[in-house]
């Protein structure tokens, strides 16, 4: 006796969080059933395998129907087809947009293109995530990226609005968009020790200090980009390095304040390198903080240095990033 058709529709859509997670993890129905079986559900509920199969199939079908709505969370909240209490809706969205940090770390700074999507099977193998889950998360990144690409305003807030994500998750997505936009080479070997969390925090600091939105809230530029003007201005700061005089003065000022030996690199691309020597010298985090503080403020005393504001804006971002990156 086989059931050709077997459905259950509730006036309030039934969501089983456990099954939802299994679905999100990319399991097939039969895999999910065996996982549920292993979880001891049969013993607890005293039901049969066929019931479990039918239940799992039913939930998966529901999730498939919900998926197209989940692609645009505001639609999920406005649709009439599935009556889901708001807290449940929020949980569904959060679950759908949740991602594995390891996967995000892999994709960080990469172009969210078809080519990258094709590489997902390797990523899947490295992270231990199922390909399906990888694809969903990749598509989520891409969807969020596309949605806010052309928008103006603070990234995290935009994402929060468009995808109804909780603030921390929205901030993470903002970081992903930021990296995808500015293509930081986060894949470099010497940066491998940094986790997604570290980089996301850096992205937030950089956005917080450097982007247009940080300076003037009604900024005209998209928030994900570091403004071109700012990058242009940074060249001016090179005087601190290129001008031997200034560099020495600066160095002596900092040294007098800290009595520490440092090397300074002002190039944005290379500023991370400051960490290596510090680590090799076993600096404490407190030391680093002190150093960066005085390093930032020292040029105030420098005569002939005209970019004080720009310098401090730049250094605020760098310092925060460095502090975050500086861990064992």
């Amino acid at each position: 006796m086989t059931s050709d058709l077997d459905i259950f529709v509730g006036n309030t859509t039934l969501i089983d969080e456990e099954v939802y997670q299994l679905w999100l993890d990319g399991y097939t129905v039969s895999e999910a059933v065996s996982r549920r079986l292993r979880g001891g559900l049969l013993e607890r509920s005293g039901t049969s395998v066929s019931v479990l199969q039918s239940d799992t199939r039913d939930h998966f079908r529901t999730f498939q129907m919900l998926e197209r709505l989940l692609h645009s969370p505001p639609r999920l909240c406005q649709q009439l087809l599935f009556q889901i209490p708001p807290p449940r809706q929020a949980a569904l969205i959060q679950g759908y947009y949740a991602f594995e940090p390891a996967l995000a770390r892999e994709l960080l700074g990469k172009k969210l293109s078809k080519g990258t999507k094709k590489e997902l099977d390797e990523v899947s193998a490295r992270t231990g995530l199922s390909l399906r889950a990888c694809r969903r998360q990749f598509d989520n990144f891409k969807r969020v990226f596309k949605a806010v690409e052309e928008l103006k305003g603070p990234l995290a807030e935009l994402i929060q609005q468009h995808f109804l994500l909780p603030p921390p998750l929205a901030r993470d997505y903002a970081a992903i968009v930021f990296f995808a936009n500015s293509r930081f080479e986060t894949g470099k070997r010497r940066l491998q020790f940094l986790s997604f969390g570290d980089l996301a925090a850096c992205a937030q600091h950089m956005m917080g200090h450097w982007t247009q939105g940080a300076m003037t809230p009604e900024a005209a530029e998209p928030d994900g980009d570091v403004p071109r003007s700012f990058l242009q201005d940074l060249k001016e700061l090179k005087v601190l390095v290129s001008d031997k005089d200034l560099l020495d003065q600066h160095k002596s000022l900092v040294c007098s304040a800290l009595r520490g030996k440092i090397s300074v690199y002002n190039e944005m691309e290379t500023n991370f390198k400051v960490l290596d020597p510090c680590r090799s010298d076993h600096w404490s985090l407190g030391d680093l903080r002190l150093f960066l503080g005085s390093y930032t403020t020292a040029p105030r005393a420098l005569g002939g240095f005209r970019h004080q504001l720009l310098w401090e804006r730049y250094m605020a971002g760098i310092s925060a990033c460095l502090l975050r990156m500086y861990h064992e």
Binding site: T2, F8, V9, G10, Q64, Q78, A90
Partner: protein, 816 residues
């Protein structure tokens, strides 16, 4: 009903009314007249009277009925007689009561059909309940002359209603309550079915009398409220069927049967011990594929056996649960190409007024075989264990009554009833069995063939619901009262192939049984997060869309209840009745009829008034239509004028002067509720209004403040890309979800926030996987209402309740 006896043609298509053969009085005993004993074989031998020839072959209606000998009144003229004191009723009770009954009876009989489709009534409305009456008839649809005209169909139904009426009369009842009609069609063959519960109604409710009249009569009221309806309405010395009567276990004054089957909901005043449970009987019978009359004949021949088996199963399962009454009984016979399916659902309870059911005894046919006996005794032990377990599960602990108090009023030569098996049983074996060691009213299951063995097994395989779950097919579960507002209505549909090679009745039965059991199990599993909860109004519908394909659709509502308060269960009936009877003003009427000014309606509430208004709220009849005194001489007139009035009102409604429009100021408070939150796009401030749906007539913990009108919607959906839409399951899942959504949207558009009395009347699904196509038709209906939570009523009398959006609510009350 436009049926007049000068239209003899209307009977030409009469093939067999099988209820002639089997009077299902369901008092535990079936009155059974086998084919060959029938005094008038002509009436159900459809063979010679082929409908085509029938145009010349006509017989008078009265002749066409072959009545069972036990029925005392077989006169069935189509224009009902109005003679006083006709029928077998009126022999019990005092003279006044007799008079009352005669008054009512004649009044009711003047109506063409004294049928009530309602299943719940105000306390005291049902004086006596006789038992289930039912009738079925097999017809050929292609023999209707004018398919577009209703005459033929009207005539068919008129015949069936007459039949029902005569059955009710035979039971000493003058009315039928909880009445329903249904059809099952396969190709050109159609089974018309009707069933209801024979009852004696309280005349007070059927007339224009009001409060004072009621109060006067209350003194005369003889039977106590908790058990009166169980007392037999028929004459115990001239019973329509052999029944086992005892004195009422509650009042000890009047006679009650040992088992009571009804199609109505449990009366609110009924005294119940323990909890109830859903009981189902399931049956399949193969039949040969045939055409037209041959087909109709074979169906007609099978029907009585099926109904008998279904009753047997019901009776056994009832005994197995230690219960003694069935409510909400619904027997569905579905006809397919090569099989017939029977599914009976009911809610079993233990009525305090009826005697404790005896156990079930198994008797072997070959008593000398040692291993066989061992097997039998093993089974017997299992059955006894199950009964004991069930009694514990359903908390059935009736007070022990000394035998002498109850006594046995009727001399009983054979102090047991024997469970008959239709095909396998021959009467001479009865005397050979020695059952003296058993309880005197024990049921005996005789195992004399594999069939019976299967039956016993299937009895024992019915798994009880998991702990924390209860289920019933009535509105509310007897024994549970403290419902929480959390409800979840659902529809589940399964289509299954019952096997395709070498089908036998046994495998068919087993498969069907498994299908139903699995479906129930999966419901329990799916809703496990709602425990402790009860599945109420569990409504199974069986269809046979194709050969060997069976489709089962279930709609029910799961309601969570508070386990900690179960001890207060005895408070339940009164609370419930008040809930039902709480009607204050015109606003409460289901339809805002234009009422005549009635000074009485605004009087401060008298208890009896509440009761009466309860009737009003259930029937939709304005309170103002009740006059102030009782006048027996004109009772019938009043009854008729009352009906006239309703008809008038109904016409008014049809003409459209009814104010069902939800004017803005009166729309649900939720409209404002969600407008306030519209600006913020966030999940927690959804702009979508929540609409609750329930098959019940009420919402637990809520007060219905306005009825907005009936919702009756038909949907047809077709796909030519079945695979792409996720196959049949994906297609139907999406469709039913959309049907729900459309009903909700419709209700929300009317300003309502709930649908009550929701029912899916039709769900016809057809597929053609080869063509990648499927079609489905769904018909649903219900009442759109505005409800307000009782808690909110108390807390915020002025502020509009924000039913829809409670931003930070814990989720408990925003569901559904």
């Amino acid at each position: 009903m436009p049926l007049d006896s000068q239209q003899p043609n209307s009977h030409c298509y009469w093939l067999t009314t099988y209820s002639e053969l089997l009077c299902v009085c369901s008092h535990s005993h079936l009155h059974w007249i086998p084919f060959n004993e029938d005094p008038n074989p002509n009436t159900h031998s459809s063979g010679p009277s082929t409908p085509l020839k029938n145009q010349t072959y006509s017989f008078s209606p009265s002749k066409s009925y072959s009545r069972q000998s036990s029925s005392s009144d077989t006169d069935l003229s189509l224009t009902p007689k109005t003679g006083m004191g006709s029928g077998s009723a009126g022999k019990e009770g005092g003279p006044f009561k007799t008079l009352l009954r005669q008054q009512t009876q004649s009044a009711l009989e003047q109506r063409e059909f004294p049928f009530f489709t309602l299943t719940t009534f105000p306390p005291g409305f049902l004086v006596h309940v006789g038992g289930v009456v039912s009738a079925r008839s097999v017809k050929l649809l292609d023999r209707i002359h004018n398919p577009d005209e209703p005459e033929t169909r009207d005539a068919w139904w008129a015949e069936i209603r007459q039949e029902i009426k005569s059955h009710a009369k035979a039971l000493g009842c003058h009315a039928v309550v909880g009445y329903s009609e249904s059809t099952s069609i396969c190709e050109e063959v159609c089974i018309l079915s009707a069933s209801g519960t024979a009852a004696v109604l309280n005349p007070r409710f059927l007339q224009d009398g009001t409060v004072e009249g009621c109060l006067e009569q209350r003194i005369e009221e003889a039977s106590p409220p908790g058990c009166g309806f169980c007392h037999i309405p028929y004459d115990e010395l001239n019973m329509p069927f052999p029944a086992h009567l005892t004195y009422c276990y509650n009042c000890r004054k009047q006679k009650v049967p040992d088992v009571l089957f009804t199609t109505i909901d449990l009366p609110v005043e009924a005294i119940v011990i323990g909890k109830g449970c859903l009981i189902q009987a399931r049956l399949c019978r193969l039949k040969k594929k045939a055409q037209a009359e041959a087909n109709a004949t074979s169906i007609s021949n099978l029907l009585p056996f099926m109904e008998y088996e279904v009753h047997t199963q019901l009776m056994n399962k009832l005994k197995l649960r230690g219960m003694n009454a069935l409510f909400g009984l619904r027997i569905q016979i579905t006809v397919g190409e090569n099989m017939l399916m029977g599914l009976a659902s009911a809610t079993g309870v233990y009525l305090a007024a009826l005697p404790t059911p005896g156990g079930i005894q198994i008797a072997g046919k070959t008593p000398n075989d040692g291993t066989y006996e061992q097997h039998i005794s093993h089974m017997q032990k299992k059955i006894n264990d199950t009964i004991a377990k069930n009694k514990e599960l359903y908390e059935i602990n009736p007070p022990e009554l000394p035998e002498e108090i109850i006594g046995s009023p009727i001399p009983e030569p054979r102090q047991r009833s024997r469970l008959l098996r239709s095909q396998s049983e021959s009467s001479d074996e009865v005397t050979e069995l020695d059952l003296s060691h058993g309880k005197k009213d024990a049921f005996v299951l005789e195992i004399d063939d594999t069939d019976a063995m299967e039956d016993v097994h299937s009895l024992l395989t019915d798994a009880p619901p998991p702990s924390g779950f209860y289920s019933c097919n009535t509105e509310i579960m007897p024994g549970i009262s403290n419902w929480t507002p959390e409800i979840q209505m659902f529809t589940a549909v399964r289509v299954s192939r019952l096997g395709n090679i070498n089908l036998t009745n046994q495998t068919l039965n087993k498969n069907f049984n498994d299908l139903c059991e699995n479906l129930l199990k999966s419901l329990y599993f799916k809703l496990r997060s709602m425990v402790p909860c009860c599945l109420c109004h569990v409504n199974f519908t069986v269809a046979l869309p194709e050969d060997e394909l069976v489709q089962i659709a279930v709609t029910a509502v799961a309601i969570t209840f508070d386990k900690n308060q179960t001890l207060q269960a005895n408070k339940a009936p009164t609370e419930k009745s008040q809930q039902r009877a709480s009607t204050d003003n015109e606003e409460q009427l289901q339809f805002p009829l234009e009422l005549c000014p009635d000074p009485l309606a605004s009087q401060p509430s008298l208890p009896a008034k509440e009761v009466l208004e309860g009737a009003t709220s259930q029937t939709g009849i304005p309170a103002a239509q009740r006059a102030t005194s009782i006048d027996y001489s004109s009772f019938a007139d009043r009854c008729n004028s009352w009906i006239e009035l309703i008809k008038l009102k109904a016409q008014t409604i049809r003409r459209g002067s009814i104010k069902t429009t939800a004017s803005l100021d009166k729309t649900s408070p939720l409209a404002e509720g969600y407008l306030r939150h519209r600006s913020v796009p966030s999940c927690t401030n959804s702009t979508v209004s929540v609409v609750k749906m329930t098959p019940l007539s009420f919402l637990p913990g809520a007060k219905i403040t306005k009825y907005l009108g009936i919702i009756n919607m038909f949907f047809i959906r077709e796909t030519t890309s079945l695979r792409e839409e996720g196959g049949v399951s994906g297609f139907l899942h999406a469709f039913i979800a959309e049907v729900f959504a459309m009903v909700r949207a419709h209700v929300a558009a009317l300003g309502g926030n709930a649908v009550v009395s929701y029912i899916m009347k039709q769900c016809v699904f057809m597929e053609n996987p080869n063509k990648n196509q499927a079609q489905c038709l769904i018909n649903v209906s219900g009442d759109a209402v505005i409800f307000v939570r009782e808690s909110e009523l108390e807390m915020l009398p002025v502020q509009p309740s924000t039913v829809v959006s409670q931003p930070t609510s814990s989720g408990g009350d925003v569901t559904t």
